[in-house]
């Protein structure tokens, strides 16, 4: 990773036209210039030049950002704003270190034992701090099964009051029997079952799927298997490292990236797939950046990254669903005594890490449009940020959830019953927002509808 000072010329590309204000979700909520890129770049520049100290205000302004990348995308001068922010965040960590909690979490993200144990323990005592959300509160009034989540009883540090927290899964995805089975390392290429399959997909779970939404993982596996591809779930895989990376803890991000690359290298695969937009963005684009100064690791990261696909991209582009190949048509409503396919009205929220960072926008929509029983409609503000990212939901929950208000408005205007998206992080945030703003809509991952 490059030093913050080296970004001075990048910052100087900003001509202060203010176009960044038009898209910035934090500017929309805070109504302050310090929230938008023009302001942040000015502050970071002043800090680099020694005109400004690393004050509390400076730190707050650098962190007051969901890292959605909107400003970078609309900037007519082409300033790579998010790269500058990341360098500024890394600089904050270098100087001030991490908070106690961040340290606790990030240092243990690569442990395949400790993290799960802590989360299991937490799950046991959750009742002290949280109450279960009623189906209405969680917006799960009908058909699709989702976990309802928990609502905090008090205003908790890092959590806030009245916040809908996702439930930690009873059994983690990577512990599921059927998943562990897929983790068997191929002994030799010849004796493996996947030999017969034309395409081999290695699945990367990510923390959201593993700890909170195993059903999204199993649904993803089913979708892949349905295409005839062989799936493996490499054993020993750890967090993608993006939470640490976006907080500025580059060291942890590097460690986790290295570990994941090593684990996956033991498996043969044509694609690495994941159902988390943040993970796919990280695996695909950040890993390379982390090893900019390490030729050997960079080459390995590049080889790995070239195979990474978001699940929506993989299903819509790289793999052909078997059912259409074999010509099995979906049961027509009028044919036979079977119950007519119930149409659910579904809209889609674009995760920034998928849309802005990977340019994947059409793929999930195409999948939904083709999905049986789904009546797809686009929503207003579909690509505006959910507010969770960049650590914002941890460092400034009030701002984070205020940003999500716009999604709730868009969801209401869409008239859809279900909001589909492609990122567990977005799902957590959107569910919380639906509960908070009293919107009776379910939030699910695209793969759950396929």
């Amino acid at each position: 990773m490059k030093d913050l000072k080296s970004f001075l010329s990048e910052i100087d590309k900003c001509v202060k036209c203010g176009t960044c204000r038009s898209i910035c979700p934090t500017t929309r909520v805070l109504g302050r210039e310090s929230a938008c890129a023009r302001g942040k770049l000015t502050l970071i520049r002043a800090y680099i030049e020694g005109e400004l100290e690393m004050s509390d205000d400076y730190t707050r302004h650098v962190k007051e950002c969901a890292m959605c990348g909107g400003c970078r995308d609309v900037c007519p001068a082409g300033v790579k704003t998010t790269d500058v922010y990341l360098a500024a965040r890394a600089d904050l960590v270098k100087v001030n270190g991490l908070s106690f909690l961040e340290r606790m979490v990030f240092k243990n993200l690569d442990s395949t034992r400790l993290m799960p144990s802590v989360l299991r323990l937490g799950a046991r005592f959750k009742g002290l701090l949280f109450k279960a959300a009623s189906p209405a509160e969680a917006g799960t009034a009908s058909a699709i099964e989702t976990d309802t989540g928990l609502i905090s009883r008090f205003s908790l540090p890092l959590v806030g009051g009245g916040r809908l927290m996702p439930t930690v899964a009873k059994r983690f995805f990577l512990d599921l029997k059927e998943v562990r089975r897929l983790g068997k390392r191929p002994k030799k290429a010849s004796s493996n079952t996947s030999e017969t399959a034309s395409v081999k997909v290695a699945f990367f779970a990510g923390c959201g799927v593993n700890y909170l939404m195993p059903h999204v993982g199993t649904a993803s596996l089913k979708c892949i298997e349905r295409t005839g591809a062989a799936v493996s779930v490499p054993k020993g895989q750890v967090c993608c490292g993006m939470p640490a990376f976006y907080t500025g803890d580059v060291e942890t991000a590097e460690r986790l990236a290295r570990k994941n690359i090593e684990v996956f290298e033991e498996y043969g695969y044509d694609f690495v797939a994941t159902s988390c937009a943040t993970c796919s963005h990280g695996l695909k684009t950040v890993f390379k950046k982390l090893f900019e100064n390490d030729d050997e690791m960079r080459d390995r990261a590049e080889a790995f990254s070239a195979k990474v696909r978001d699940i929506t991209e993989l299903l819509a582009r790289d793999l052909k669903p078997v059912k259409t190949v074999e010509g099995i048509s979906p049961t027509a409503p009028e044919s036979g005594g079977k119950e007519a396919v119930k149409q659910i009205s579904v809209t889609y929220h674009d995760p920034c890490h998928l849309n802005r960072n990977q340019g994947i926008k059409a793929e999930p929509r195409a999948l939904l449009e083709d999905a049986e029983g789904v009546d797809f409609k686009n929503m207003k503000f579909a690509c505006s940020c959910c507010g969770l990212g960049g650590g914002l939901s941890m460092t400034n929950y009030d701002l984070s959830i205020a940003i999500t208000k716009r999604k709730a408005d868009g969801a209401i205007a869409s008239g859809a019953d279900v909001i589909a998206t492609a990122c567990p992080g977005c799902i957590v945030q959107l569910r919380d927002a639906m509960q908070r703003y009293g919107v009776d809509k379910k939030v699910v991952h695209v793969v759950e509808l396929l």
């Binding site: 001509v15 036209c17 203010g18 038009s22 109504g31 302050r32 000015t42 400076y58 007519p76």
Partner: protein, 465 residues
Amino acid sequence: MLSDKNYISLEEIVGKEQVSASKEDLLCYSYDATNTTYLPDAVIFPANALEVSRIVELANLRGFSIIARGAGSGFTGGSLAVSGGVVLSTERMKRVIKIDEENLTATVEPGVITWEFQQDVEALGLFYPPDPTSKKISTIGGNIAECAGGPRAVKYGVTRDYVLGLEVVLPTGEIIKTGTSTMKGVVGYDLTRLMVGSEGTLGIVTGATLRLIPKPESVVTMLAFFPGISEAAAAVADIVAARIMPSTLELIDSFSIKCIEEYDPVRFAGVGALLIVEVDGRPESVKIEAELVNGVCKAAGATNIETATDKRAVKNLWKARRSISPALFKLKPNKINEDVVVPRSKIIELMTGLESIGKERGLIIACFGHAGDGNIHMNIMYDRNDDAEAARASEAVKEAFELTLSLGGTISGEHGVGTTKAEYLEMEIGSVEVALMRRLKECFDPKGIMNPGKIFSNKSAVRVT
């Protein structure tokens, strides 16, 4: 410097959270789209007209200056604290108070973002035409202060044509109402028109009643390719002379095209000049007008004319057009951005004149803009660190202004005078008129606390960086 006493008084008016003198906030409110920096002494965020009034009253009493600021997207330094003082941001005053569908008017607070307001009214089948290029961020208050225009001005006019009445806080602190909420009104002097375009020097707009019109049913967007700037300029004059009334008639020269080539590299590469033409109205008339435009452009030498069919293409085209101004920095690190206007029949003379000024002085003068109303954005590109080039650029500005005035034009169509054009004011305005304007300013603002250093040249202004 703002004394502690004054700072505390400001806190008492708006609350501790809504005023700041932290270095971080001062830096963030020290610039605008001119990309120059002047640190204010404080920034304040009032919630309503009453708070604005109390702030201004205090400033007038204690003798510190107030500089109103919307989104900071101005091109002439209108919102810069050139001699310190308190920047008053309207960012919290962003309510659309009422859209009156029966009378086709709307009442808004100054911090409402132009584009968002347009979305609101268009959802009701109504139309607020003024569309400055920065409309996605600029505020109605800022648009009123600068009398912003935009591409649609050729058919629909500029901000002043849509302001019926205002609520203004005078530099002495009183809240006044100007104009009416009716379509007509001639009682007393027209203070509304005086306020519109006064660049925040005569008062701070805290509310506006705007005129709306029915939204045109359909729009056709055409893109005409020309081998050179003179053919394109001729087409502009011919369209006007042919009594066609396009809703947009935008000219883009080859330097500008170069900067936005990435938006459509295949079609834009090597093009001499482009015209974006839009006609709007009822579908039947739009069709006829589009055909007329087509014929005129061809006769003037267009090599190709495309009609945009899908929304995305139109959106992308406008995105490219809006990006020209900031993207010009790809040519040179600095620019002098002027928005001269000439009678439309003189567009060709202006364009060829500017071309030769550029050639003579060895400068790139990139031109684009609302040619349909004679308003050209000429951008003299230079490097601030190259003294000789900077000097040539500044000579070129003067020469370009002389050319503009000799053609019967004006040195600013929609950006205002601010600080960047203050020294040229008297090239266009006679001494008697300037004296009258100065007397008006003194009459409104006897202590000179409101946006000092703007319009009239003020030698005391010192640029920080």
